[in-house]
Amino acid sequence: MTAPHDKDFESIEQHEHEHHIVSPRVYLTIVVILLVMTATTVGVSYIDMGLFNPVVALAIAAFKMILVVLFFMHVKYSTKLTKLTVISGLFTFLVLVGMTLSDYFTRAWGRW
């Protein structure tokens, strides 16, 4: 059947890939936090904070996203490969958007 070195590989694999079942209690906690954060972001939008309104709104959105990704999408319990994929994807996204926006926002449009 399987060669000994295959066996070793499998045991390593199995150790790393033990399938984790997230309990309903965790899901329930997360959904309550998400709903509370939604109420918070709406409430905060009625307060005039000038420049900080969008900053706070996006910070809350980012926090909600992290909760969804880690718990609903199981990334907290996933393999290192999945974690690396998600993080590098997000990083590339931020670089692309960040560079584009910094270019657009720092040009004197129509004044050259």
Partner: protein, 257 residues
């Protein structure tokens, strides 16, 4: 613990024609994978790669929105006053709840609870439809006010805000000059592009959910092979995340000038 038990009681061993060339595996394990764990990891990885392409796709729209909002700020502020925060908030709550029921669906599949899985999928399906229903109410209002970009676009609500009583009594916007007011059309273009593309993802998701409900009733996902439910869950949560960003950007951040 219960997981390894769950796997072992369905270990129907598949023997190949040529003994020795085949290794023993679960019936739903593809032959070219060493283990089932390897197969589900590979599928999971592929799903995430697909979701990253989706992130880049929506990212383009978000970037366009931020650039134009920066350029035509007064137009974008006033145009966003046309959206009703009540409906936006309701839809956010609906979508977050549907993400929860979907997550519970994944749990039910993992625990091999067929009834619970079908129930979770049905509730998710209904909440998806509720979301689209609320979106229709909002779109209908834009149609009535001629806020659809195109030949029949009307900027009356922005050149003469007092004519739009509902919105005026809440925000008391000052009239915009015509050359700024016409840029509100770009706001609505991006509004429909972003929420429309999001709604299209919802429609596709709801269609797949409908298919999954029938398959789940036939017992397809409660055999220990939960990959399909799990990866659909990833898609559904991704669509939720897009809305988590659309909601503040379109509805909330422009309440104060």
């Amino acid at each position: 613990m219960s997981d390894s038990q769950a796997v072992s009681d369905s270990r129907i061993v598949v023997h190949g024609a040529a003994e020795g060339a085949h290794h023993e595996h679960l019936p739903y394990q593809r032959h070219h994978f060493e283990t089932y764990a390897q197969q589900s990891d590979a599928t999971n990885f592929a799903m995430w790669l697909f979701l990253l392409t989706e992130v880049m796709f929506f990212g383009g729209l978000f970037t366009a929105y931020l650039i134009y909002r920066n350029w035509y700020y007064p137009a974008f502020v006033q145009a966003s006053h046309q959206l009703q925060i009540f409906w936006g908030t309701a839809n956010t709550a609906v979508l977050i709840t549907s993400s929860f029921t979907m997550a519970m669906g994944v749990w039910s599949a993992e625990m091999r609870k067929k009834g619970a899985l079908v129930l979770c999928l049905v509730v998710t399906f209904i909440l998806g439809l509720v979301f689209l229903g609320i979106k229709t109410i909002e779109y209908k209002e834009k149609i009535d006010k001629h806020h659809i970009p195109g030949f029949h676009y009307s900027m009356q609500s922005f050149t003469n805000p007092a004519s739009d009583e509902e919105v005026y009594k809440e925000y008391h916007d000052k009239p915009l000059a015509v050359d700024m007011a016409r840029h509100t059309e770009i706001y609505f273009f991006l509004y429909f592009a972003m929420t429309g593309m999001h709604a299209l993802h919802m429609i596709i998701g709801i269609a797949i959910l409908g298919f999954m409900i029938f398959r789940a009733q036939a017992g397809a996902y409660t055999t220990g092979h939960v990959t399909f439910v799990e990866n659909f869950g990833l898609y559904w949560h991704f669509v939720d995340i897009i809305w988590i960003y659309l909601f503040p950007l379109l509805y909330l951040i422009s309440r104060h000038q």
